[in-house]
Amino acid sequence: MRHLLSTRDLDRETAIGILDVAEDMADVSSREVKKLPTLRGKTVVNLFFEDSTRTRISFEAAAKRLSADVINFSAKGSSVSKGESLKDTAQTLAAIGADAVVVRHSASGAPHTLASAGWIDAGILNAGDGTHEHPTQALLDAFTMRRRLHGSASRGKGLDGVHVVIVGDILHSRVARSDVWLLNTLGAHVTLIAPPTLLPVDTGQWPCEIGYDLDAAIDADPDVVMMLRIQAERMNAAFFPNTREYSRRWGLDASRLDRLRSDTMVMHPGPMVRGLEISAAAADSARSLVRDQVASGVSVRMAALYLLLSGDREVD
């Protein structure tokens, strides 16, 4: 694997391959000594143009468990306001000798530009770009679902026939996009539920169903309900009237939680806004896999770094 930029261009075989390597990595994480020598001598740079402590520490833990040297480069704010261009930053990292760059950027496509502009030869791992994609989040979501469904027999399996409902701000969510492409590739059936204002204007080509009614989606007996974070400031741009109305219509409250099957998975990419899109009861219920998702994140990111950096690098 040369880069990991999106889940849209992952085929099923490659995706399952990553998840299977992540299973091996999860085994490492359950050992007393949680460390492999695999990436010793490799340098991984976490290049974060947006604050995201959760994602950064997950990547940092993943790289360290593989014995890579980790450099955290926090370049908060856009490259423009900061004064240094993305190109100069990339060339600086190339000069330092970075083997992989994990990049989080507010601009959709920035990792794609890093990977294709010829500024740096390192493998590029997209850790979330604008409202475009967040591929490792989708991979960890799929990994978490697969483990819950198949346990230690997960290897080699997809998510065929699994019904996943994703609820919330689809329009601004890179997680939703990456989930839609990946879960569909793995055979799952995806339904997106959101206020019409928080859906892209044309989703006709998306491999999923679209609805506005969370209650109807719950009545359809889904296997997974994934709640997305709602930013309260969206109401200032007239996406919805106020947080109370949003919560009533699209929040996973206690009564909706009660209508789910006992083995329905409740997921959330975090950080959660308790009381808005998800009630405390739902977040803390036995159905909740939120902490499993975090643990899976390290395994999946170890797998991605391993596949990017071990063995012979492909030449493009």
């Binding site: 490259s79 993305l86 496509g109 920035a110 530009t113 604008g130 475009h132």
Partner: protein
């Protein structure tokens, strides 16, 4: 020093007729008379070359004053000459903004001194393009620059009352408001055409309705106050429909389309290559087809380049941070040939109309006359028979932000004559000092 004369032998006129053309003392003699007194003229073998009237661009960003790192009047008019243009209308979004008589007269003077093309300044509609109060439109109209086209291009005159007043006011001196139709509230943060692709790429959308709603409003305002409206860079099928409706209703509206909107689609954005970032954005294939048909049936009156040079660093970056715009003067004729002539939607007679005569008429300048005896010697000799990969050697301005680099385009401008001076000689621009010296001679003669 007597002026160099040219005998152009065997050129093809837009109607297909082959003829000789004499360029003498700033004027043309076309037909059998051309050889009279052509004894010491420089001879040009024009077999296979089409003789077009010098092209007129109603929408050029020359960037000077203020953004000389992107382009200057000199470099921009060199790009114009390389593309076969002899008159360019310079947009007002300079720094300072061209919102006073002083700035437009400065631009006029810079153009005259450079000598590559006539620079006709456009005046801003509002002070500083801020959309709050009218600029001194009358002072600019009465200045030496004789401004008749007013535009806040780059931003829309969004306030409907201000737009109404501007349309009304310029009637006093036969002016026209050239509107950049973009409803600002519907396009906050917009990065590309809004549709299926913007949703997938995660780029905030620029919906067609943001353009169409402003055009609809403005044609109704123009009708109400009996004024002349020009719509810049129409980019959507819906806009074509609205302009068609307005014209059928008798509203005095004209519209332009850019070469890039006639050829390129939003699909190019998928690789996040900022060379394709432009405002209004590249649209769907259906829009491109509607624009071509609109230009062919006269709904859209002219092609205007929206030549928008930027320094390399403004495009060599992530998509969000990149500047909008593409250079277009050097490639416009080739793109129009590919999109309109080779597809048999326009004849060369039509090309002369939409790229020379009508833009001059909208802008109220004395240019765009047909290639005929007695016409001023603004002339372009174009070879439509070649096809080559478009490369940076074709670019003559400061900007290299062309979306056509690396793709095959037909045709090449061989000669450009501006007021009888050959500014482009067999594909090569004349030296800067020579152009300036010729310009001084012309000014001295009056």
């Amino acid at each position: 020093m007597s002026r160099e004369r040219f005998l152009i032998e065997g050129a093809t006129l837009v109607d297909g007729q082959a003829t000789d053309i004499l360029v003498d003392d700033g004027f043309l003699t076309v037909g059998p008379d051309a050889r009279d007194g052509a004894a010491d003229a420089t001879r040009i073998d024009a077999a296979g070359l089409i003789a077009l009237p010098g092209l007129v661009d109603l929408h050029t960003h020359l960037r000077e004053p203020g953004f000389e790192q992107s382009e200057t009047v000199l470099t921009g008019t060199r790009a114009a000459a390389a593309g076969g243009y002899t008159t360019v209308f310079a947009m007002a979004n300079t720094s300072p903004v061209a919102d006073t008589a002083g700035v437009v007269e400065q631009e006029l003077s810079l153009g005259r001194a450079a000598g590559y093309a006539t620079v006709q300044p456009i005046g801003a509609v509002t002070v500083g393009l801020a959309g709050e109060r009218l600029a001194e439109l009358g002072a600019m109209a009465a200045s030496r620059a004789k401004v008749r086209v007013f535009s806040d291009d780059g931003v829309c005159v969004a306030d409907p009352l201000l737009m109404r007043r501007a349309l009304e006011y310029v009637k006093a001196f036969d002016g026209v408001i050239a509107q950049h139709a973009q409803e600002p509230r519907l396009t906050a943060g917009a990065q590309m055409n809004e549709g299926a692709l913007s949703g997938t790429l995660g780029l905030p959308g620029w919906p067609a309705v943001a353009e169409e709603s402003i055009i609809a409003r403005d044609v109704l305002l123009a009708e109400h106050v009996g004024s002349r409206l020009h719509v810049c860079h129409v980019s959507t099928a819906g806009s074509v429909d609205i302009v068609r409706w307005a014209k059928a209703r008798g509203i005095d509206v004209t519209a332009e389309v850019t070469p890039h909107h006639l050829l390129l689609t939003e699909d190019l954005v998928a690789g996040y290559d900022a060379r394709y970032k432009v405002n209004p954005p590249l649209r769907r294939a259906d829009d491109v087809q509607a624009l071509r048909e609109g230009l062919a049936d006269g709904t859209i009156d002219i092609v205007a380049t929206d030549h928008a040079p930027h320094p390399i660093e403004a495009k060599d970056c992530e998509w969000d941070a990149a500047a909008n715009g593409m250079v277009g003067l050097e490639s416009a004729l080739s793109v129009v040939q590919k999109a309109m002539v080779d597809t048999e939607l326009l004849s060369w007679t039509d090309v002369a109309r939409v790229m020379s005569a009508i833009p001059a008429s909208i802008g109220r300048v004395d240019a765009g006359a047909p290639v005929a005896s007695g016409s001023r010697a603004d002339l372009t000799l174009y070879d439509p028979g070649v096809s080559e990969v478009f490369a940076t050697d074709r670019l003559a301005g400061k900007g290299v932000n062309s979306p056509y680099l690396g793709i095959d385009l037909p045709g090449r401008v061989r000669w450009t004559f501006h007021g009888g001076t050959a500014t482009l000689r067999d594909g090569a621009l004349i030296e800067i000092d020579d152009a300036a010296a010729r310009a001084r001679e012309e000014l001295a003669r009056g």
